[in-house]
Symmetry: none
Subunit: 271 residues, 2 copies
DNA sequence: ACATTTGTGATTATATTTGATTGTTTTTGA
DNA sequence: TCAAAAACAATCAAATATAATCACAAATGT
């Protein structure tokens, strides 16, 4: 029976914020406080979160919406679920990016989070088949090379046989990839054969393959296989696997890194 | 009499500055202070920043916009000048899109406006080298095929030799293209050689070429030529050319379509 | 019900942006 | 060429925005 003010839930507020930014393209913190009836601290926190997810660019006094916001309904939901896990995994992947590297970043929200972290690195070359990664890096940062091909709307990636001709032109130091399913025996699997085709091509053009997969993917098998487990050099995931699973992966030569979400520290298992 | 003065956010101001420069081509610091209500120090700082980004060249007393600014910028918002002209040109292009066609849409804001008009046409196949066109169609509508390649940030398009391999795989019914400069004798020109390379490739893969160019482009010549006038089948522009210019284009086999803009404002003088 | 976690707003300290002031450089016109 | 005028860069202080910290309330799990 205390105050009956109905405050917005955080995701609700973020969705309103997204709509505002879609319309206005630019918003100042003060106006946000007024419109959403929140404090400046909360407004800033929300903007910071959207920036981490690569949806806005913050500037002194407010934020600017990115073009990427104009598209995609399905995909967005995935990014908000388990966002902190994805963020933590992305941060753990950062040490594998060396100065002047050329990288491949594929689709998937975890890899997108990594792209956000690289947005100010002008020394890098990023090859990608993801429209959203390209969007996240469109304003500045690394040199961007996009693999052509047909747009697969569900994942917002470019896939299929036409990707081959561009991919055959390039070589990268490190490929950061995501997956739908992952088991030691079945290897890496995804849902769409065309997506699988492109992913396997990518892996063949990379010196080092780093798999970013939150723990929900492990033990799952999807329709289309695209790589064997032994083709993965490093697996970064969001919590410690049981000893057996870790051993199974290491038997295939995979280095397993688990991120402790609470402390946000990595606990390497292995050499 | 509340204090109704709200200062512009930095990116807002820079965007206004870009628009001013696109219109006037040259601007003095004093005028900037007046128009944007800022001090000379801030005006200089803004110009210095745009100069670092290669968008303007500073001169004593002000700055000159570079040709590349016409190539359509990273951000264009609702305040974009000539937005209604671009929209009208795009609408005039619509009758050239037949059911089940495959189209090419290149970079440039006029073509982007056309993309927006096609966003609900599921019968089409759209090939593009523009990140923004892909973004506009990312949520649904036509099948989208993106040409890969290096991202040219200024125009937000993918250009260069890597586009070749994908473009050689495709053929389209109609290519809708923009340009920076257009004269009957010099043909079509743009600022960046890589951009020109890709544009000329596109034209060679299209059965029909339709040029969308607002009147500010006509009579201009930019650095890199990418097509002869006789390679263009239709030119759609925003106001009637003089009789001689029209005849010159028609002599090269170009069909000229001029869109009559009806303005909401009452203009005392006739056309 | 209790303790724990999470989210929010207030407070303080820090950082950024801005406009005024200063001295220096460039342009202009004799 | 020189000197005056204009424009510029550098510096500083004030205004403003942000980050960091704390305390409290609500939600959550035990």
């Amino acid at each position: 029976m205390s105050k009956n003010e109905q405050r917005d839930l955080a995701p609700e507020r973020l969705e309103k914020l997204r709509h505002i930014l879609r319309e206005h393209r630019i918003i100042r913190v003060d106006d946000l406080c007024q419109i959403l009836q929140i404090s400046a601290a909360t407004a800033r926190r929300d903007l910071a979160q959207l920036e981490m997810q690569g949806e806005v660019r913050r500037v002194h006094g407010g934020a600017v919406g990115l073009d990427t916001m104009l598209a995609e309904p399905v995909f967005d939901d995935k990014t908000s679920i388990a966002a902190s896990e994805k963020q933590a995994i992305a941060e753990a992947a950062l040490p594998f990016v060396k100065p002047n590297d050329s990288l491949f970043l594929d689709g998937g929200s975890t890899v997108l989070a990594l792209a956000g972290l690289l947005a100010s690195r002008t020394d890098l070359t990023v090859v990608t088949n993801s429209l959203r990664v390209a969007g996240a890096l469109a304003a500045g940062g690394p040199a961007v090379i996009l693999v052509g091909g047909e747009l697969r709307r569900l994942s917002q990636t470019f896939v299929g046989p036409m990707t081959r001709f561009t991919l055959e032109q390039i070589h990268v130091d490190t490929a950061f990839i995501g997956t739908i399913g992952l088991t030691p025996e079945q290897g890496l699997t995804t849902t769409d054969p065309k997506e699988a085709y492109t992913k396997s091509l990518i892996i063949s053009r990379a010196r080092q393959v780093i798999l970013l997969a939150d723990s929900s993917k492990i033990g799952k098998t999807a329709f289309s296989p695209f790589a064997r487990t032994d083709q993965v050099h490093v697996l970064i995931t969001d919590r410690a696997l049981d000893r057996k699973a870790t051993r199974d992966f290491e038997k295939h030569g995979v280095r397993v890194i688990a991120v402790d979400i609470v402390k946000n520290r990595t606990t390497p298992k292995g050499p």
